[in-house]
């Protein structure tokens, strides 16, 4: 187990290097001069030269890349061009908020998606099944942006139940978490339903019922545990999707997360922050996948790591 984790962690390094190179090239291949964007439309040539020199933008690409890689290895992600603060500081200010939002959304998704999927699978073809799956279809098709604005207009402006935007209390989290979590809830509901349906038709379920076990035990102990493997996989992958959806949700609700930071930095060509944020998201994604892999073993003892 330990060697497995160590091996998995080692394979993370080339992945990260790949991400680093891809992001580095991507932001530089995009048209536009960061110094010009920073200085505004009518900056003087001297100002542009000052800014280029200040941020090393006058160096050739390969020199910039080598410097960057060496600094990252030392844990230095560089300095934001816009705010002139260390990138790691910027990320530390925004990432915890994204984490809270994503976890909140995941909680919403799990609390709605899995029970709805189980209930729909237990009563296939009934009106409940139909409604649950229709709801899932709507949930998955609805644009996050529109859903968020509607939520604000109805629950904040009309009814006055929740604050419009910002963070601070648990109340602030409710609308953004529901907005972001609904799509994932829908996917989880559909996934749980089909996995459960498949397991429920297996022979051992019939055996379990035949030997007189209570319905609850059959469903939760025998069926659900076996249906969980694909659900866990999807949940892990959805985490990545949530980080992506968080960009939009954060904009709508003025939620100070990494998505808002990223969008602002891309528009301003703040290379160091864009690189740092993407790197951080990649690391988060890789770690989540690792956790999912390890969870398989806990759910299904037949899966071994050696």
């Amino acid at each position: 187990m330990t060697t497995y984790i160590a091996r998995r962690l080692l394979t993370v390094i080339p992945t990260l290097l790949g991400v680093l190179l891809a992001v580095f090239l991507m932001v530089r291949l995009a048209p536009g001069d960061p110094a010009q964007l920073l200085a505004g439309e009518f900056a003087t040539p001297e100002t542009l030269a000052d800014i280029r020199q200040r941020f090393g933008l006058d160096q050739p690409w390969h020199v910039q890349l080598a410097l960057y890689a060496a600094n990252v290895a030392r844990g230095d992600l560089g300095q934001s061009v816009r705010t002139r603060k260390p990138v790691s500081y910027e990320l530390s200010q925004y990432f915890p908020n994204t984490l809270r939002l994503t976890l909140g959304a995941m909680l919403v998704a799990l609390l709605i998606g899995i029970p709805a999927g189980i209930l729909a699978a237990l009563r296939p073809g009934t009106i409940f099944d139909l409604l649950a799956m229709l709801g899932a279809l709507i949930g998955v098709s609805m644009p996050v942006f529109w859903f968020g604005l509607m939520a604000i207009l109805i629950f904040s402006v009309q009814l006055g139940w929740f604050p419009v935007a910002g963070t601070g209390t648990l109340w602030h989290l409710v609308l953004p978490a529901i907005t972001l979590g609904t799509g994932t809830a829908a996917i989880l509901a559909r996934m749980t339903r089909s996995a459960m349906l498949e397991v429920l038709s297996q022979d051992y379920i019939r055996t379990a019922r035949a030997k007189g076990l209570a319905g609850r035990v059959v469903v939760f102990k025998h069926a659900l545990r076996n249906a969980l493997i694909p659900v866990v996989t999807i949940t892990g992958l959805q985490f990545g999707g949530l980080l992506e959806g968080a960009v939009i949700t954060e904009t709508v609700f003025a939620w100070p997360g990494i998505g808002q930071l990223l969008v602002g930095s891309i528009l301003a060509r703040d290379y160091p922050v864009v690189q740092g944020a993407v790197l951080l998201i990649a690391v988060a994604f890789i770690l989540i996948n690792l956790v999912v892999d390890l969870l398989y073993g806990a759910i299904d003892p037949r899966i071994r790591y050696d």
């Binding site: 048209p31 964007l37 000052d50 002139r84």
Partner: protein
């Protein structure tokens, strides 16, 4: 939620005396400030916050006047190369240190320093050669040549005077902790959420009525409007055109429009044929219906230009605009050799998403030009690439006709005219990106820099703008307008033409006044 509670509490306690108001004024801006260090606060949300904390030597009033602020009086030497400033006595920074001549020298030298790399270094770089401090309240600025607009440049927020002691003590941390002499003191900054300021009870001038200001960062316009509608914010910037009617209909909200100093225009690249021909330039000016664009594309939130700069800028006078006259446009084009058999074709470059409805404006122009037989093809580039392309030297500049905007943020015509129309300012050295040149205009713009008599300068700028109008190096389109939603319980809140918000003079109305 919390605000409502507070408001209810305040009313419940019968807060009828309008003296000290403990409520917080909440202002929803589009983005979080990037820096609160005056020379680095280059965007409007940053400048807005900084302006409440840090003061400049001179003040540019919303009416377009330049008045002494930290300075008590000033004088120019007879050769106009020395500006002597006498500072007000007894002003202290928020950290208790004294505002003196040394502090002014420190700040102005810091602004132009290469190490800081401020994009507003140009305001003083090359214009002021030495700063002397003969006594603690006197500052002498020596200039290599007379430069009358220097007063206007000293109103710009990047020239704000900040505490040298705090800058030295805090180092890089200073940008999160501005220390000035202003009516409000910095309190805290929750990154990505809000900046909060608290009243400076030792302020040297008129003390503000409201105790706290909170500037929220809310990028999505609909969300900003919802904040004002629910009373969770008192002011919201940039009301989208489609929301104006709905918000105005609410009795508790005022929708206020303020002209901006930003002018939107098309420029002709005069090194490209046929744009070297004034008849073609005039024809295109006559073929474009600016009023229609303002009304239908901008939803009425603009002002058709009647001069190269906007009202509210020192030196502005109404010059006139090319009236919409398609027949005259066709005639002028025919004289220049274009007709149905040989139509004028060119590429119209436009940014997309930089200015209010920019690409829609370009599309409207395209269809209006089609009506006089001109075929314009719209080209749009990502903003960074667009700027770089428009800033190429003449032999490599591919733009033919292109849209740009210019904000005369100093409030002085020099900044709006010299850099854009003087022949020494051809790209990439300056901002004259159409390579326009007129020696007579050059001379007048040079004289206006040297003249220190305001009336004489005003007169010179009038003649300059008349020449520009006659030469038609631009299509004069419109000036943008700022549309702000303000709740009725707030009075005295100012939206400045330089896109800054000023809350220092604001107060909450008591319920009886409402």
């Amino acid at each position: 939620m919390r605000f409502r509670l507070l408001a209810a509490l305040a009313l419940g306690l019968g807060l009828s005396v309008g003296l000290a108001q403990t409520r917080t004024l909440v202002i929803a801006q589009g983005t979080d400030p990037t820096s609160l260090d005056a020379p680095l606060a280059t965007d409007s949300p940053s400048a807005t916050v900084v302006n409440h904390v840090v003061e400049t030597l001179f003040n540019y009033t919303p009416e377009g006047k330049i008045e002494p602020l930290l300075v008590e009086r000033y004088s120019f030497s007879s050769d106009r190369k020395v500006l002597t400033l006498t500072l007000r006595k007894g002003i202290k920074f928020h950290d208790g240190t004294e505002l003196n001549a040394e502090a002014v020298k420190f700040n102005l030298e810091r602004l132009v320093s290469q190490e800081l790399a401020s994009s507003f270094a140009f305001l003083l770089r090359g214009r002021v050669s030495a700063i002397e401090t003969p006594d603690p309240l006197t500052v002498r600025l020596r200039m290599p040549e007379p430069f009358a607009p220097v007063l206007a440049h000293l109103t710009h927020s990047s020239t704000g005077i900040q505490s040298p002691a705090a800058i030295r003590r805090l180092g890089a941390g200073y940008r999160d902790n501005p220390v000035g002499t202003g009516p409000y003191k910095f309190d805290r900054w929750q990154k990505g959420q809000f900046v909060e300021l608290v009243r400076n009870d030792d302020y040297w001038g008129k003390k503000p009525a409201i105790e706290r200001l909170r500037f929220l960062a809310v990028p999505e316009a609909t969300t900003r409007m919802a904040l004002v509608e629910t009373g969770q914010a008192h002011v919201a910037v940039r009301v989208p055109p489609q929301d104006v009617q709905r918000l105005s209909a609410r009795p508790e909200i005022d929708v206020v429009t303020t002209p901006s100093v930003r002018t939107i225009f098309l420029y002709f690249n005069q090194t490209k044929k046929p744009f070297d021909d004034v008849r073609v330039r005039k024809a295109i000016n006559h073929a474009i219906n600016k009023e229609e664009i303002v009304r239908f594309v901008l939803g009425g939130f603009g002002r058709a230009s009647d001069a190269p700069i906007s009202p509210g800028i020192f030196g502005y006078t109404k010059i006139g605009s090319y009236d919409y006259n398609p027949d005259l446009a066709r005639q002028l084009l025919a004289q220049a050799g274009f007709n149905a058999q040989n139509p004028l074709r060119f590429t119209l470059s436009s940014p997309n998403g930089r200015y209010l409805q920019d690409i829609r404006v370009a599309e409207a122009i395209q269809s209006q030009l089609r009506a006089v037989g001109v075929q314009a093809q719209i080209q749009t580039l990502e903003w960074g690439a667009y700027l770089a392309a428009s800033n190429q030297p003449r032999e490599r500049n591919e733009f033919q006709v292109a849209m740009l905007g210019w904000g005369t943020v100093t409030g002085d015509a020099d900044y709006g005219l010299f850099g854009l129309f003087h022949s020494s300012q051809h790209a990439p050295n300056g901002f004259n990106r159409g390579f326009y040149a007129n020696p007579r205009l050059d001379r007048i713009l040079e004289q206006a820099r040297v003249a220190t008599n305001p009336q004489a300068r005003q007169q010179l700028y009038r003649s300059a703008m008349q020449i520009i109008y006659n030469d038609a190096p631009w299509v004069f389109l419109h000036a943008e307008q700022q549309v702000t939603a303000i709740r009725r319980e707030v009075q005295g809140f100012v939206v400045h033409p330089t896109e800054r918000l000023i809350a220092s003079g604001a107060s909450f109305r008591t319920s009886a006044e409402r």
